[in-house]
């Protein structure tokens, strides 16, 4: 039988829960209201993630409601993206206990794996998480275990200015100069032609904005330029390594073509674009500086909702452009496609939360991840501009009213949700690299891409060097072990 004191505490907790739910800030699930016992009063949970606003601002937003529910404080530590992996893995490797929870990249799980808690059974016993609603489950898995809680969904998509695409006068000039109509680009050739046409800035806007900065997530933008040239639909592993023998594919003709486009596009962006990181890409697009943009799902939401934006109600979203021919790494030949190849690219794989084995209070750390990933709190985050968290649950797509309430205008909203949903649910979506040492492969790629973009090296030469570096890294880490991890990441069995 429930004691009076316990009854009063429950009632108080339900009151807090109801208030929080009313403000849209926290859990709607009765199971989670049980957290509101304040049994962790006085405790502090240390969370590390990248410097904000993206992701860090979501952690900040979670601190107050989480404290109301559990009594525990959240101490946020941040590092620039380029240093986050270094800081966290150094702490793990040296046996440190500086952080209880790490919100990091899904692609780093291969390195984090020995040092983090297996969440599988906790998640399966937690009805408040509504696990079947989570699309990105796979991105938190390693070797069949759920070692991370997905808190973000990630696609790289293409964004375009609808107002410019619909401008009849510009359309006439464009048709005359480029020989095809001005429209949202379907192919990379069309994409590059639009970038070229607007590249000199004479129409008051530049052609394209992408990230090129070393340490500024440039790896994923470069790969966006390659993905359609390198991936035969349904064929696994065409972007990074041959899954039969782990031979790097990064210097094949598909990559060379992608790298040439990526390097050329630098000429058509705002001045100094070689030093843009992902944050700057979003801000420049929101300031109306480019007709086309490549980015994760953050660019449109910032462009639509941020104060002072110049592109509200003018942003179209679509899958990355496609190609009519693809480099088939198995045959070693270009393959002509009967229909346009326009693969979905799940770049980065989403931010996810891991709990250190050395965490001061593992159950509390799990409660935090459960809270951040809960349907109600996550919906609030994905509909906020610049939280850095993008849809990763089916309910995020289905709850259109939440987006409208946040101020996202139609028809942009319809295009945005449709593009993300198409990408997330594509059975042939290209998965990101997930194997030990991923951060090193990404870093070397960013250096190579900058060398080409700044004219220090040709695409072929830089990519040949890069392939050698990737191969050396795999040899140092152990070929057999790396091959096994890579095949597992593609859901392929062991090699014979």
């Amino acid at each position: 039988m429930m004691k009076r004191r316990e009854f009063l505490e429950r009632m108080a907790a339900m009151g807090v829960g109801a208030m929080a739910a009313g403000s849209g800030l926290t859990l709607l699930d009765p199971e989670n209201i049980a957290f509101a016992s304040k049994e962790h009063a006085g405790e502090t949970l240390t969370v590390i993630t990248q410097s904000g606003p993206p992701i860090a601002s979501a952690v900040q937003a979670s601190a107050a409601p989480f404290k109301r529910l559990t009594g525990a404080s959240v101490k946020l530590i941040t590092a620039p993206f380029g240093e986050l992996y270094t800081k966290t893995i150094a702490n793990f490797v040296t046996g440190g206990s500086a952080y209880d929870v790490v919100l990091g990249a899904s692609t780093w799980l291969g390195d984090y794996n020995p040092y983090v808690v297996d969440l599988t059974s906790r998640i399966h016993k937690d009805p408040s998480i509504h696990w079947n609603d989570v699309i990105y489950q796979r991105n938190g898995q390693w070797a069949g275990r759920q070692i991370a809680m997905p808190v973000d969904g990630d696609n790289q998509l293409m964004y375009y200015r609808r107002d410019i695409m619909n401008n009849k006068s510009l359309g006439k000039d464009f048709q005359k100069k480029m020989g095809h109509p001005l429209r949202p680009p379907q192919t990379w050739d069309e994409f590059m032609n639009i970038a070229r046409f607007f590249g000199d800035g004479k129409h008051g806007v530049r052609g394209v904005v992408e990230a090129y900065r070393h340490g500024g997530q440039a790896f994923w933008y470069y790969m966006s330029n390659c993905v359609a040239w390198c991936n035969v639909p349904g064929e696994k592993g065409g972007l990074f390594f041959n899954p039969s023998n782990l031979k790097p594919l990064v210097n094949n003709p598909g990559h060379v073509k992608g790298m040439e486009n990526y390097a050329e596009a630098l000429k058509y962006g705002p001045p100094g674009m070689i030093n843009f990181d992902s944050n700057e890409v979003r801000q420049r697009f929101a300031h109306g500086e480019a007709v086309l943009g490549i980015d994760w799902d953050d660019t449109p939401i910032i462009g639509e909702l941020q104060t002072g934006t110049k592109v509200k109600g003018k942003i179209g979203s679509a899958l990355l452009p496609g190609t009519h021919r693809v480099w088939n790494y198995r045959t070693g030949k270009w393959q002509t496609m009967s229909k346009l190849n326009r693969p979905a690219w799940l770049a980065f794989g989403g931010w996810c939360g891991v709990i250190s084995k050395k965490a001061h209070n593992i159950p509390l750390a799990y409660k935090y991840l459960s809270f951040v990933a809960s349907p109600a709190f996550s919906l609030k985050m994905v509909t906020l501009e610049n939280s850095g968290m993008n849809p990763y649950r089916l309910s995020h797509f289905n709850n259109v009213a939440a987006w409208t309430k946040a101020g996202y205008p139609e028809p942009d909203l319809g295009l945005y949700l449709a593009a993300m949903r198409k990408s997330d649910l594509d059975p042939n979506a290209v998965q990101d690299m997930r194997l030990p040492g991923a951060a090193g492969f990404q870093d070397a790629t960013e250096v190579a891409a900058q060398k080409v973009a700044s004219g220090q090296s040709s695409a072929k030469s830089a990519l040949d060097d890069l392939a050698n570096q990737w191969n050396t890294t795999n040899q140092q880490k152990g070929m057999a072990k790396q091959l096994k991890a890579y095949r597992a990441s593609l859901n392929l069995g062991a090699t014979k």
């Binding site: 490797v93 070393h214 705002p270 001045p271 030093n275 070397a444 890294t473 140092q476």
Partner: protein, 260 residues
Amino acid sequence: MSFSNVSTDNGLTFGAATLDNWRTLLNDSSFWDSLKFTILFVIIAVTLEYFIGFGLALLLWRPIRFGGFFRVLFSIPMMLAPVAIGFMFRMIYDQSNGPVDGTLQRIGLGQPPWLAQPHWAVASVIIMDIWEWTPLLFLLLLAGLQALPEDALEAAQLDGASGFRVITSIIFPILAPISVMVVFLRMVDAFTVFGQIFLLTGGGPGTATTSTTLFAFFQGFQNFNVSYGATIALALLVIVTAIALAYLATARFLMRRIEA
């Protein structure tokens, strides 16, 4: 650590003794590129810092109006944190919103690609270093100037020597020992440049401004190739020691010739 293969796959574990890291280093063109950039950076930056510092010290050596104010003003850059300097220059060099390009464009001189092209990026890094460290040389040389024997200068003036002649024949030789010391200190320090470049260019574009310390950092702490990072750091120590010894020997030889 450099003679072992350290794995970070499951905590820190040391492999058997090996010379593999050193063999890799000798054949690693990226290492040699970083060393070439570092040496070029040290030579140009320290030389310019010395002459600008010397010039400023000469300007403020004799009592002038607001002399104290200018001494403090000129000393401020070296008191700032490297992180702040890196960020500040990143804003200054910004091609879209930076004050330098904005001004140059207004007067019709175009937009230099400060951080976008390799040669410009190298120049940008050197300019930043000169701004930060010239004050150190200025202060030390100023202290040297203030300790100059007045009688030698008065004698030269009575003999009708020109200002230029006084500087080259009297001040410069007398300041030679202190000059050797300040250049030595600054040179050794410049070989370890890290924070400012990391923030300003990240070693780019490509590897154009990757100093050897930055290269060691990338290998050791970004790729977690700890052994190789340690090898690069150790190699840099050996190289800097050799260069420093060669510099001191040359300076001693030249000073003996001046004295003779």
